[in-house]
């Protein structure tokens, strides 16, 4: 049987400026460690658009569908806030300003400077490869979990490290988490080859230093000299340790060599941090380092269940701003951020709801697990309308999350960096009360250089709607809804020509890009 023809977008050809750079330095130069960095500088100076950047944000506990999903004429006519879940939304014409809509921040110029409605793309009906809290580990890996471990690397690491798209920047990628440093699957988005979790930064100080340390203004003579010495010493460290790793690698069986490969990749990042910081982005003035009056300096005080809850909001905002700055300065092109719940059961004596949303402080039990949406019979008939009183509390948190995303877009835009950024926002679960990974809330946002058609809302035609007692997301008939297809689309958008990603019951789950994005 003939293999089906698979249409993939042609790889982005080298721009004219990059070709002329290559001609000037010769093919042999491409092996040098800083080649990509120099090529990028040259290309950008010649006016090429910046390389694409990807930031993935996960937010816990799913979505209140009633304040998120499209209000199309096909929706059930369930009353809500004096309106109905049934409306007139279509793919290209939709309302996200209705009362309590969680997507409001994307159409709120008063708060965020402009409307980003034309820059967003929501997708309803994508399914995660796992269920429950641990499924954060599946979001970017597209893999079910065995012993809490995904089978393969996450897309960000795949692109940044394995495919080398992060080679040109000082840091190949930036991995952040609010409050939870442990490499548990429920709080880890980024995985290296073979499904080994990548260490996360939870401290604003460490995150700042990771991105910005080593920056010395050009005019500071003594600082520049010290920087030069630091660089020389650091480089000698790298050179020796790299040789050391290569020597050891030579003694290892292939399955063990992966460990050295990861180590060598990590050394490449460290190496770049020893180099002089050059600002190649369109707008790079490093921000001021936070101080002890901004955040507790003891990193343990930022941890969940150790007093960290009251810092979550501020840390999240800081990380959002840092990602924007890191992208604008082209210090990295890949970032992941795992958000956390709102303050959980504040310590005795503190205010119950530090953000003033009027939510109970035990968000997990009293909001996420109280959520009752409508349900359908096995014949597909509406069986119950759910409990409207449980929708708004969850939607408030959803809107809070999207407010941070809108802020990220605002900051990137102000720095002139939004054009080349793709933002992927999702949750490990769709319906949090069901702990279900079906129909997770997918939001894509991005600039004009990202080859997706934004300003639309997509609803997959074949959708596993939960809670429906005859719907199982891992059924072959729902294979077209696996979020693996989105991961393939993103890879292709970044110029990496794969046609499958992750792991699934069969190849219909993992193969082909997601239709309708481009």
């Amino acid at each position: 049987m003939k293999a089906p023809r698979i249409l993939v977008p042609a790889p982005q050809p080298l721009s004219r400026s990059r070709r002329s750079f290559l001609r000037a330095v010769g093919v042999g130069a491409t092996a040098l460690p800083f080649y990509k960095l120099l090529e990028d500088s040259f290309a950008q100076a010649a006016g090429d658009p910046l390389s694409l950047k990807l930031v993935t944000i996960s937010h816990p506990h799913g979505m209140a569908a009633e304040y998120w999903e499209m209000r199309t004429p096909a929706q059930p006519d369930i009353p809500l806030d004096g309106r109905s879940l049934r409306g007139t939304d279509s793919e290209t014409s939709f309302d996200i300003k209705y009362p309590n809509c969680s997507l409001q921040p994307f159409d709120d110029p008063a708060t965020y400077g402009k409307s980003f409605k034309d820059r967003t793309l929501t997708v309803e009906g994508l399914d995660n490869a796992a269920d429950g809290h641990d499924a954060v580990a599946s979001i970017l890996t597209g893999s079910p979990l065995t012993g809490g471990k995904p089978a393969n690397s996450s897309l960000d690491q795949f692109l940044a490290v394995e495919k080398g798209l992060g080679a040109a920047t000082r840091k190949s990628n930036l991995v952040l988490d609010v409050g939870m440093p442990d490499l548990t699957p429920g709080h880890t988005l980024s995985y290296s080859a073979g499904g080994v979790g990548i260490g996360k930064i939870i401290s604003p100080f460490e995150a700042f230093d990771y991105v910005f340390s080593g920056f010395v203004p050009q005019g500071d003579g003594a600082g520049q000299a010290a920087l030069k010495r630091r660089s020389a010493l650091g480089q000698s460290v790298i050179d020796y340790v790299r040789d050391d790793c290569n020597r050891l690698r030579g003694r290892l069986a292939p399955v063990e060599q992966k460990k050295m490969d990861q180590h060598l990749a990590s050394l490449r990042d460290l190496e770049k941090s020893f180099g002089a910081m050059s600002t190649t982005g369109p707008s790079c003035t490093p921000p001021v380092r936070p101080t002890g009056s901004d955040f507790p300096t003891d990193v343990n005080k930022l941890r969940a269940f150790n007093g960290g809850e009251l810092t979550y909001d501020k840390v999240t905002t800081f990380f959002i701003d840092l990602i924007a700055q890191a992208f604008a300065c082209d210090i990295t092109r890949f970032a992941t951020l795992v958000m956390n719940d709102l303050p959980w059961d504040s310590p005795a004596g503190a205010t119950m709801d530090a953000l003033g949303f009027g939510l109970p402080s035990d968000f997990h039990n009293l909001v996420a697990h109280k959520y009752q949406t409508r349900n359908y019979s096995w014949e597909g008939k509406l069986a119950g309308q759910g409990d409207a009183a449980t929708w708004l509390p969850l939607a408030k948190y959803n809107k809070y999350v999207y407010g941070k995303v809108a802020r990220l877009m605002q900051k990137l835009d102000a720095l002139g960096a939004l054009d080349s950024v793709l933002i992927y926002v999702t949750s490990e679960m769709g319906n949090p009360n069901a702990h279900s990974g079906a129909s997770v809330p997918t939001l894509l946002a991005g600039g004009v250089n990202v080859p997706f058609r934004f300003g639309r809302r997509l609803k997959l035609s074949v959708d596993c709607w939960t809670p429906n007692d005859s719907c199982m997301a891992r059924d072959p008939k729902y294979a077209s809804g696996a979020n693996n297809h989105l991961l393939v689309s993103i890879a292709q958008a970044f110029g990496v020509n794969i046609n499958s990603f992750g792991k699934g019951p069969d190849s219909t789950f993992t193969t082909r890009p997601l239709a309708g994005l481009t």
Partner: protein, 589 residues
């Protein structure tokens, strides 16, 4: 593969309605950490497959072979293993005499673990040969190395380690001496010529980049910084002599390193190195002698305590939080619970019988006054055994740490506890709902029921019962302890029922009135003792997946040859592993 339908069970205040196709409701926990979800099933090597999901008993293993003549596939594959954070700290402390614990001070990413896993504790063991150096860790290793050098330079330690009569003209020779001695200690083996060249001799060597145009001390500083980040320092090798292939023995140096890290989580001391050089470690008796010596050291004792805490999943109890509205007393005793675990395990292993039975059934503990008050007894004082004879609380599974970790933030959790007992204590495999395509929903709290009554939906529904009859039975026996381990006879003004019947086809089958009877049965069970052997193996072998199954089974066969009174004694089990060929033989992967 059998398709399991899944349902959402809607719980109303009055009860619940099961939808047409049946399915399973599960209370999957309320902590807002990611770990609260159904942790995916570990591949529990228990003789049965990992995904059957029934309460299948652990088999007796497949590999044959008496101790010392196992087939090749029953050797651990050759490998390297990155030091755990604790091992890294111990190693730099031994090298430099520093009091710093860099992995803590610079918040290294937590160890990625392996071994039996269940919510909310996650996988058990920090010693894990899958660990890697990722970018954040590489960055911190360099930061830590620089800080250690700064400290050692300021204190005079580096001068003492690298004396130089004539630094101006004889610097390189001094540096070479330093590298050959200190470097050998750091690498835990002699350096090769290539390494010495790269470090010292070549004009572009690390030493010369540091010293030329600067000072000899600068050269030593950067050398130290490099040595502390070398692959040879960060990874323990199990590769044999150069050219080793097929099935082969570790080198004498590798055996010394393996013994040291296994028994003390730190590098070999001088006596161990001397015994390696003399060939003593090539013999089982020699290894036993050193093992028992090391077990008695402070580092040895601390390491064993850590492994037991990791095995039981209780090592981070002090980081847990409970709902203020339900368990306001927890925050002030969680540290006491951690202290209790450490002191109790250490006391059993070093001053008691050192047996699993005592760990599980001791009628005493070591608890400070606040914790003793929670238990309803009076503390005997710091470090002293507090009697529990007057209360129905026995052994480590009835201590605050275990009961609090495997619970919700605001209630007990029979499923967490049941799965912990099954996977960690009895090595009974049970699949996670996610692996079976079952999506669990969360039943609302119900003030008109006990926790047990709420969970009874499991056994009422045939789709759930196949797993949960067993899981919940284990968990219900502990229902006389609430979510922070306090004893209770009523819940919501209803009597607490702890009577359970196990019938999973194992030697634990029977009826038990309460947890005291259950832990007594656990202590006497052959199934549980065999599981102990497996867990000790996994924590020692740094791996517990399918690639090591035959080795683990081979160890179980070896362990079975021990006299009965040694099979349950933790140190003897560990020594049996160290004595065996499995400890020193490897095979090409």
């Amino acid at each position: 593969m059998m398709r399991r339908s899944r349902i959402l069970v809607e719980i109303t205040g009055a009860g619940f309605a099961l939808a047409v196709w049946g399915g399973c409701v599960g209370n999957v926990g309320s902590t807002s950490t990611g770990a609260a979800g159904a942790g995916a099933g570990g591949i529990v090597v228990s003789g049965s497959g990992g995904s059957a999901g029934s309460g299948a008993p652990s088999g007796s293993g497949g590999a044959t072979g008496a101790a010392g003549s196992s087939p090749t596939s029953a050797y651990i594959p050759a490998r390297i293993r990155r030091l755990t954070n604790a091992e890294y700290d111990a190693s730099v402390q031994a090298l430099l005499g520093t009091g710093m614990a860099p992995s803590v001070q610079f918040s290294f990413p937590p160890d990625a673990r392996q071994g039996p896993t269940n919510s909310p504790a996650g996988p058990a063991f920090s010693v894990n040969d899958a660990q890697r150096v990722d970018p954040v860790l590489a960055d911190k290793l360099d930061t830590a190395a620089q800080a250690l050098v700064t400290e050692a330079r300021a204190s005079g330690k580096l001068t003492a380690l690298a004396p130089c009569a004539n630094p101006t003209s004889g610097g390189e020779a001094c540096a070479k001496t330093f590298v050959l001695s200190f470097g050998a200690k750091a690498y835990r083996r002699a350096l090769t010529d290539e390494e010495v060249t790269g470090l010292v001799s070549s004009p572009t060597s690390v030493y010369h980049v540091g010293a030329d145009g600067y000072t000899h001390d600068d050269g030593i500083d950067v050398l130290t910084r490099v040595l502390l980040q070398s692959a040879a320092f960060l990874y323990v090798t199990e590769l044999g002599a150069p050219g080793a292939a097929g099935a082969f023995a570790l080198t004498a140096g590798e055996i010394a390193n393996a013994l040291a890290y296994l028994l003390t989580s730190g590098p070999p001391d001088d006596m161990l190195l001397a015994n390696a050089a003399s060939g003593l470690l090539a013999t089982p008796d020699g290894r036993e002698q050193e093992a028992r010596r090391l077990l008695a050291t402070p580092a040895g004792r601390a390491r064993f305590v850590r492994v037991v805490r990791e095995w039981l999943g209780i090592d981070d109890v002090a980081y847990r939080e409970k709902a203020q509205s339900v368990y306001p007393a927890f925050a002030s005793v969680s540290q006491s619970m951690e202290n209790e675990s450490r002191a109790f395990i250490d006391e059993v292993l070093n001053n008691g019988t050192g047996t699993l039975a005592e760990l599980l059934t001791a009628d005493w503990t070591i608890a400070d006054a606040p914790l003793a008050a929670i238990y309803g007894v009076t503390s005997a004082g710091a470090g002293k055994r507090t009697s529990l004879a007057s209360v129905k609380r026995r052994g480590i599974l009835n201590q605050g740490a275990f009961l609090s970790v495997f619970a919700n933030s605001n209630s007990s959790h029979p499923v967490f506890r049941g799965v912990a007992l099954m996977r960690r204590i009895a090595c009974l495999s049970t699949a996670d709902p996610g692996a079976l395509g079952i999506v669990v929903s969360f039943p609302a709290a119900d003030a008109s029921k006990t926790t047990r009554a709420r969970f009874d939906a499991h056994t009422a529904d045939p789709g759930c019962a196949s797993c949960h009859t067993t899981i919940d039975a284990f968990g219900f026996a502990l229902e006389n302890f609430d979510g922070m381990g306090r004893m209770r006879t009523t819940e919501n003004n209803l009597p607490v029922d702890t009577k359970v019947t196990l019938s999973a086809g194992t030697d634990l089958d029977g009826t038990y009135a309460d947890s005291t009877e259950l832990v007594a049965a656990l202590a006497g069970s052959a199934l549980v003792k065999t599981c102990l052997a497996r867990q000790i193996f996994r924590s020692s072998a740094a791996r517990s997946d399918a690639t090591i199954e035959s080795v683990e089974n081979a160890f179980v066969e070896i362990w079975k040859q021990l006299p009965a009174n040694q099979q349950g004694r933790l140190a003897d089990v560990l020594v049996a592993y160290v004595r065996s060929s499995l400890f020193v033989q490897r095979r090409t992967p």
